[in-house]
């Protein structure tokens, strides 16, 4: 038993919604109806299918096609995207593994509950955030991306988002709990209105974040456990120290009574 390789027949065209095309349903994928623009068509009309890859693995080769909802709601197995993804990659994931070798669009890992998402390139806005109209963002699992847009981890409840490079504005805004790791620079509104949770930073923010109290520099043992775990997964940012557990702790957002924290690791 091998995996399944889907290669897009056309490099252009309207976005293809791959909701339901999951590793746990490999045998049914060929005849599965998906939405392409305004049409409902079979998967095998849009993709060339052939066996390949490890057992239980779905390999997507989009070429230039835009694939939305890749791995959305996935509970088990593995998806590898040899290229870029559209929006909602891994949204609502509950388990399994989704690897995107290129970039992905907005709402990746939105409302994710479990599993692993790794994006080698950049993720768009709303990484790990709520889907439109929802009150809660990501609530479990782990996400590792190269860079990310605005509102990373907005209203996230649990889980880990590790961004190796820069993030846009409002990262961790209204965060409820969980951990966000930022290896590069963060835009405006970092941690705005966060209630709990941790944002790990390589350097002090360019401007002191409003609403955060400077708690001083401390030794925080859990950083050693987090470093070991992320290093083993290749997710500890290059900018982060490879030893030492001292960090500057900024507590907030106190304007909303928040008990969250930003930890600046450049003090080790």
């Amino acid at each position: 038993m091998t995996g399944l390789v889907l290669t897009a027949r056309e490099a252009s065209g309207p976005p293809i919604d791959l909701t339901g095309v999951l590793p746990e349903r490999l045998a049914d994928i060929a005849a599965m109806p998906v939405t392409c623009g305004r049409r409902r068509v079979r998967v095998d009309e849009l993709f060339e299918l052939r066996d390949g890859g490890p057992s239980g693995t779905l390999i997507l080769r989009p070429g230039g096609a835009v694939l939305d909802n890749v791995g959305a709601g996935m509970a088990a197995g593995e998806i590898v995207v040899e290229g870029d993804c559209g929006d909602n990659a891994g949204a609502g994931m509950r388990g399994g593994s989704l690897l995107v070798e290129g970039d992905c669009g907005a709402f990746a890992a939105a409302e994710m509950a479990g599993g692993r998402l790794r994006v080698a390139g950049a993720a768009g806005d709303f990484l790990g955030a709520p889907l439109a109209g929802s009150p809660r963002g990501m609530r479990g699992g782990s996400v590792v991306v190269g860079r990310a847009g605005d509102r990373v981890g907005e209203r996230m409840r649990r889980g880990l988002i590790a961004v190796q490079g820069d993030v846009g504005g409002w990262c961790g805004a209204r965060m409820i709990a969980g951990s966000i790791v930022v290896g590069g620079e963060a835009g405006a509104g970092l941690g705005s209105a966060m209630r709990r949770g941790s944002i790990l930073l390589a350097r002090d923010p360019a401007e002191p974040p409003p609403g955060f109290a400077d708690g001083g520099v401390h030794e925080l043992l859990f950083l050693e456990l987090m470093r070991r775990d992320l290093m083993a997964a290749g997710a500890w940012p290059m900018e982060f120290p490879v030893a030492g557990i001292r960090a500057r702790r900024l507590i907030g957002d106190r304007t909303v009574g928040g008990l969250g924290e930003m930890l600046v690791l450049s003090y080790t």
């Binding site: 880990l160 941790s198 925080l220 043992l221 859990f222 987090m226 070991r228 775990d229």
Partner: protein, 298 residues
Amino acid sequence: MRINGVAIDDTFAEAFPMKGTRLIVTADTPHWVQAAAVTMTGFATSVIACGCEAAVERALDPEETPDGRPGASVLLFAISRDELAKQVARRVGQCVMTSHGSACYAGQHEGKPIPLGDGLRYFGDGWQIAKRIGGRRYWRIPVMDGEFLCEATTAVTEGVGGGNFFILGADREATRAAAEAAVVAIRAVPGAILPFPGGVVRSGSKIGGKYKGMIASTNTAYCPTLRGAVPSLLPDGVESVLELVIDGMTPDAVRAAMRAGIGAVVSMGAASGVVAVTAGNYGGKLGRHQFHLHEVMA
């Protein structure tokens, strides 16, 4: 059976199922590891009066611990999961969390969980922080020297309590030397502990007593000073008896510990003053586990 001139009685140690768990305690230095581990395993010799039986299984090098600091592996045993949970909460809360620079982790993850940091977190008075790292949940509790890091739960396993053997010696000095050798040997066995002071018991007990309310009293049959006045089980020439009580995470761990301990005793030979090795039991009616000395030493 006789090894090196030391008689091994054809009898068995009777042991009981107990609920056990393993905790990893770490600190900045070995001194502070010992401070925490020794304190948390204090007054934990017998479930009869202490609530649990506990001891340090072994010291851990920094590369063996979750946080890369010196540590110790501690085993705790109690008669039920609820009692074990109560003892873990009390002992970690009062003896580890209070100890400078300490952290506490589950030493095993297979088995039903009981609260570890999950119970202690309330000490944080609302400032405690939960962190899930590598699939495990930890609590960061703010304390006066920084943070106390504690895993949320630890797992309970079906352990064995009350594995034992008696060393019958010609005098106190010879018996003590043999017991000390046994302790050293047993402490090298993984998954087993000796909960009594120095690993040795001098006041072995029998069930009940002449006084109302006594659930255990001195083991008259093995008291040398009562020879002649009570039905004694001591051979001629025995002036001193010491018992080693062993708790283990598995029956195999208890068996291995007994073999190592008895092996160390008999290796000293009869010339050292060791007369015989025997074991304590209740006729096989009470304990689920029986460790026959001849089978252990076969």
